[in-house]
C-alpha cells in the first residue's frame, strides 16, 4: 500500500458563529483514510461526526468555517481550493449519501433523469442519444429490479429502501474515489438496512473505493468497517482497528458506548455505566404471575382495521368496469389479530414499518376506531366506545402512552411542568396550584428529572429530558397499561439505556403493564416478558422473549434476527 493516504485530515477545527459567540463543533481532529479502506466514524448526537464530513466536502453552511488544520484529498488542499475546483471534486471524486433518502431526491423529477443529471455534469457520458442506457445501468448496479421501468419512476413511488438504492446509484455514478455515507440506514428497517449496507460494501469493494461510514450504531460499524474512529463532543477519543476496538476498548467513552448498546446475553442493568450499574440492585423480576382463571388486563380478539383504497387504479377500474380490479377495494392494515396482556406483564409488539403495529397500538389507545374485533380492558369492552367519546371517560386515565418522538409529543408552548400536569387537570382529582405542583415534583423525582428543569420549555431540554417529561406525563394518572411507541428510537444509545432502565423500575414500582411497540428486537428483549412478531397485519410468532429470540420458529423472525448487526462485544 502506498504511504500516501487518500484523505488526510489533520488538526481540523470547525467553528460556528452563533449569537452566543463562537462554538467549536469539531476540535483538533485527525483522520486518515487509505485507498480502499472502510472507516467508521461513531459518536452520539452532537459529537461532530457529521460536521467533520461536511468540512471534508466543504459544504458547511454559512455560519461555519474551517478555523484550523488542513484537509488533503489525494494531494489537493480542500481548504485552499477554489469553489470551482470543489464543484469538480464533489460528485466525481468524493460523493455523499445522506440520512433521509427521500429528502435527497428531487420529488418532482424521475429518478433516471436525476442520475443522468449527475453524469452530464461530471463526465459528459450520458448524451441524449443513448436513451438513458447509462442511467439504467447505474440502477442495475444497485440491484433495483426492473430498472427499465424504475427509470421513469418518481421518488414517491419507491419505498425507503429503494430510494436509498437510487441515492447510492447517484453517488456511485461517476466512480468516485471516496464515498461518505452519513447514517445511510437510519430510519430503514433492519432487513432493508442489511440489504443496503451489503450493497454499499460490495460495490465499494468492487470499485476499490474508500468509504467513510458515519453512524451512531456500533454494531453497524463493527460489521462493515475496517477501522473505527470514536468521537465525543467534537474530539476524536479513540481510533483503532474494528476488531481491536471491540475486543479491547481503551477510552472510557468508548467503553460506555459499548456497554449501552443492547446486545445478546445482557440484562438491562448491564447497559448502564459500571459504577451506576453496580450500585443499583437488580429489579425484582417482573411478576407476570397470572393466576389461573384471572382475567387478563387487555384482551384483543380478531382485531381488524381496514382502510379504503383510493388509488387511481381502483377509480379507473370502476369507471371503465372492463377489467376486474386487481386489488380489493380495502386495505387491511391489521388483519384479525388476537393477543392478551396480563396484569404487570410487558409485551413487545415487533415488526417492520407498515406491519400494522402502530395501527394496533392506536386502536388499543382508542385514538382510532377499529373496523371489527373485540378490545377488552380490565373486563370491560372498550372497543365499542367511539374514540371521541372515550376522552372524557374514567378508563382514559387507565391507558396512557409514551410517544416515539419526545420533541413532537410535547406542546412547544407548554413548560415541562404544565405538560406533566395536563392529564391531572383534565382527568385527575388533584385540584389547586400547590397540590398540582407537589404532584408534579413527585413525578419528576420518579422519572429522575431535576426540579429546576420543570419550568423550561421543550426546546430548552435535551432529548433524554424530554423523554422523561413524556414518561412523567404518561404515569401521572396511575395508569394500568402504558403503550410505549418506540420510546427510545429518537435517543442516543447511552440515553436509551438510562430510559429503558427507568421504564423497567417504574413498572416494578407502580405495577403497570407495558405494550412496547418497536422495530428493534434487541431492545424489546430487554424490557419484555413476551414478544409478538407482526408482519403485514398478522401475527407470525408469539412467545416468551428468550424463546423467540434464541429459538425463533418463523422464517420471518429468523430473518429479522440475522439482519441485526452485532458488535463482537465481550465486556467483562
Amino acid at each position: 500500500m502506498t504511504a500516501q493516504p487518500l484523505l488526510e485530515v489533520q488538526d481540523l477545527t470547525v467553528e460556528f458563529t452563533t449569537r452566543r459567540g463562537i462554538v467549536k463543533a469539531v476540535q483538533h481532529v485527525n483522520i486518515s483514510v487509505a485507498r480502499g479502506e472502510t472507516l467508521a466514524i461513531v459518536g452520539e448526537s452532537g459529537s461532530g461526526k457529521s460536521v467533520t464530513s461536511y468540512a471534508v466536502m466543504r459544504i458547511l453552511d454559512r455560519a461555519g468555517r474551517i478555523a484550523e488544520g488542513s484537509v488533503m484529498f489525494s494531494g489537493i488542499d480542500v481548504k485552499a481550493a477554489t469553489e470551482g475546483q470543489m464543484r469538480d471534486l464533489r460528485g466525481r471524486e468524493v460523493s455523499m449519501i445522506f440520512q433521509n433518502p427521500r429528502a435527497a431526491l428531487n420529488p418532482i423529477r424521475k429518478v433516471g433523469d436525476q442520475i443522468e443529471d449527475v453524469l452530464r455534469t461530471h463526465v459528459q457520458q450520458a448524451m441524449v442519444s443513448d436513451h438513458g442506457e447509462k442511467a439504467i445501468e447505474a440502477l442495475e448496479q444497485v440491484k433495483i429490479a426492473r430498472p427499465r421501468e424504475r427509470y421513469h419512476a418518481y421518488p414517491f413511488e419507491l419505498s425507503g429502501g429503494m430510494c436509498q438504492r437510487v441515492v447510492i446509484a447517484l453517488a456511485l455514478a461517476c466512480n468516485p474515489q471516496l464515498l461518505i455515507a452519513d447514517e445511510p440506514t437510519t430510519g430503514l428497517d433492519v432487513t432493508t438496512q442489511k440489504a443496503v449496507m451489503d450493497l454499499i460494501v460490495e460495490l465499494t469493494k468492487r470499485k476499490a473505493m474508500s468509504t467513510i461510514l458515519i453512524t451512531h450504531d456500533l454494531g453497524l460499524a463493527a460489521a462493515y468497517c475496517d477501522r473505527v474512529v470514536v468521537m465525543e463532543k467534537g474530539r476524536v477519543v479513540e481510533t483503532a482497528k474494528a476488531a481491536d476496538i471491540f475486543a479491547n476498548p481503551q477510552h472510557p467513552y468508548t467503553k460506555k458506548l459499548m456497554r449501552a448498546t443492547p446486545r445478546l446475553g445482557v440484562s438491562l442493568r448491564d447497559l448502564l455505566p459500571e459504577e451506576e450499574g453496580a450500585a443499583s440492585a437488580e429489579p425484582a423480576p417482573a411478576v407476570a404471575a397470572i393466576a389461573e382463571g384471572q382475567q387478563p388486563l387487555l384482551l384483543i380478539e380478531k382485531l381488524v382495521k381496514e382502510y379504503p383504497r383510493q388509488g387511481a387504479t381502483a377509480t379507473l377500474g370502476k369507471l371503465f368496469g372492463r377489467k376486474p380490479p386487481v386489488e380489493p377495494d380495502v386495505f387491511r392494515a391489521v388483519d384479525g389479530i388476537s393477543f392478551s396482556i396480563g396484569h404487570g406483564e410487558s409485551v413487545g409488539l415487533v415488526g417492520e414499518s407498515g406491519c400494522g403495529k402502530s395501527t394496533t397500538s392506536m386502536m388499543v389507545m382508542r385514538l382510532l376506531d377499529q373496523t371489527s374485533g373485540l378490545i377488552q380492558f380490565d373486563g370491560e369492552d372498550i372497543g365499542g366506545i367511539q374514540p371521541a367519546a372515550f376522552a372524557r371517560l374514567p378508563q382514559r386515565s387507565r391507558i396512557q402512552m409514551v410517544f416515539q418522538d419526545p420533541t413532537d409529543s410535547l406542546n412547544p408552548r407548554f413548560t415541562a411542568a404544565r405538560a406533566i400536569v395536563d392529564p391531572i387537570m383534565q382527568l385527575g382529582d388533584i385540584r389547586g396550584r400547590d397540590a398540582l405542583r407537589a404532584r408534579c415534583e413527585e413525578l419528576a423525582t420518579m422519572v429522575g428529572l431535576p426540579h429546576n428543569l420543570l419550568d423550561r420549555f421543550p426546546h430548552q431540554l435535551s432529548g433524554g429530558q424530554k423523554a422523561r417529561v413524556g414518561i412523567a406525563r404518561a404515569i401521572a394518572l396511575h395508569p394500568k397499561l402504558v403503550v410505549l411507541d418506540e420510546p427510545t428510537a429518537a435517543l442516543d444509545v447511552s440515553v436509551q439505556a438510562v430510559v429503558l432502565n427507568l421504564l423497567q423500575d417504574l413498572k416494578a414500582r407502580l405495577g403497570m403493564s407495558y405494550l412496547f411497540v418497536s422495530h428493534d428486537l434487541n431492545v424489546v428483549r430487554l424490557l419484555c416478558d413476551r414478544v409478538i412478531v407482526m408482519r403485514t397485519g398478522r401475527i407470525v410468532e408469539e412467545g416468551s422473549s428468550e424463546q423467540v429470540l434464541s429459538d425463533p420458529q418463523d422464517s420471518y423472525t429468523k430473518e429479522l434476527l440475522t439482519a441485526i448487526p452485532h458488535p463482537p462485544l465481550q465486556i467483562h
Binding site: 396512557q400 392529564p423 431535576p450
Partner: protein, 298 residues
C-alpha cells in the same frame, strides 16, 4: 428511587420566557436596522393616536376663512385648507381614527377568519368545506369593490367600514390558519392532549391556537397596512367617514381638486401620513416574522 441516577444532560442556560422574548427582540432590532426603524415609527404613530388630540396647536374642525389656502409656514406647518383649517392638526388628529379602524378590523378578522380557519384545518370534513367555500366566494370579487358594496348596503358608519375591511381580509386569515392547524392536527402533542382527556374544542383553543399565534400576529401586522389603505380608500370615494371629520382619506380627496391650482400641501401631507403608516406596518410585519421565526434563533 436510587436505581436510576438522573443523568447529567446538557441544557441551555435557564431563561424565563419573557426575558428570552425581550432578548430576541433586542437581537432582531439590533441586527436589522430597518425593523428598528419601523418599531420607532410605530411608537410615533401610537403616541400621535393617543395624545394627538390634546396636543395639536389648532382645533382640527375650526374654520378660519381669513387664513384659507395658506402655504406651509411657521404658524401652519402643513399649511391650511380651503376652509382655513390647520392641516397639521388634522393629520395628527386623524391618526387615532385611522389606526382605530385598522386595529379594530384586524382584531375582528382574526376572530372570524382565524378561528374559522383553525377549526377548518383541525376538524376537516364539512367544516373545512364550508369555510373554504366562504373564503372562495369572497375572493371571487375584486376586494375593494366588495368593501364598497358592503358599506354602500349597510350604511356609511365607522362600524361598517370596520366590518367591510374585516370581511375583505377573511380569506387571508382563514387560509393561513387552516394550513397551520392542519399540519398540527395529528402532531404528537395533540395526540397526547387527547390521551390527557382534553376535549376537541379545548385542544383547539389551549393546545393549537397558542402555537399558531406567532404566525397570526405577523399576518395581522401585514394586513394592518392594507386595512388602513382600505379605510382611507373608502373615505376617499365618499363611502367612509363623512366630512368634516379629520381622516386621511377624506383629506386627500378634498385636496385632490386643489392640486391643479397649485395648492399641493392639502393632499400631500395626509397622503404622506397614510404612506408612512402603511410602510411602518409592512416593515413591522417582516420584523415580527424574524422575531417569531425559530430558525433565526441560532
Amino acid at each position: 428511587m436510587s436505581t436510576v441516577a438522573p443523568a447529567v444532560e446538557p441544557g441551555p442556560a435557564r431563561t424565563s420566557g419573557l426575558v428570552a422574548i425581550l432578548e430576541q427582540t433586542r437581537y432582531v432590532l439590533g441586527e436589522n436596522k430597518v425593523t428598528g426603524f419601523s418599531f420607532a415609527l410605530l411608537i410615533v404613530i401610537l403616541l400621535a393616536a393617543i395624545f394627538g388630540p390634546y396636543t395639536v396647536p389648532y382645533d382640527p374642525l375650526a374654520s378660519d376663512t381669513a387664513a384659507a389656502l395658506k402655504a406651509p409656514s411657521a404658524a401652519h406647518w402643513f399649511g391650511t385648507d380651503q376652509l382655513g383649517r390647520d392641516i397639521f392638526s388634522r393629520v395628527v388628529v386623524a391618526t387615532r381614527l385611522d389606526t382605530f379602524i385598522a386595529v379594530a378590523s384586524v382584531v375582528l378578522v382574526f376572530l372570524m377568519g382565524g378561528l374559522a380557519g383553525i377549526a377548518a384545518g383541525y376538524f376537516g370534513g364539512w367544516t373545512d368545506r364550508i369555510v373554504g367555500r366562504i373564503a372562495d366566494t369572497i375572493m371571487a370579487f375584486p376586494l375593494f369593490v366588495l368593501a364598497m358594496g358592503i358599506v354602500a348596503a349597510l350604511g356609511n358608519t365607522v362600524q361598517n367600514i370596520i366590518l367591510a375591511t374585516a370581511i375583505v381580509n377573511f380569506p387571508l386569515y382563514a387560509r393561513v390558519a387552516r394550513a397551520e392547524a392542519n399540519v398540527r392536527r395529528n402532531a404528537g402533542f395533540v395526540q397526547a392532549a387527547r390521551l390527557s382527556g382534553n376535549g376537541e374544542f379545548r385542544i383547539l383553543l389551549v393546545h393549537i391556537l397558542p402555537n399558531i399565534m406567532p404566525i397570526m400576529i405577523v399576518q395581522m401586522s401585514l394586513t394592518m397596512g392594507y386595512a388602513i389603505l382600505n379605510a382611507a380608500g373608502l373615505s376617499f370615494i365618499g363611502l367612509g367617514v363623512r366630512p368634516p371629520t379629520a381622516e386621511w382619506g377624506i383629506m386627500v380627496a378634498e385636496g385632490a381638486g386643489f392640486m391643479v391650482s397649485g395648492e399641493w400641501w392639502i393632499a400631500l401631507f395626509p397622503g404622506l401620513a397614510l404612506m408612512i403608516a402603511v410602510f411602518c406596518f409592512n416593515l413591522l410585519g417582516d420584523g415580527l416574522r424574524d422575531i417569531v421565526d425559530p430558525q433565526r434563533r441560532t
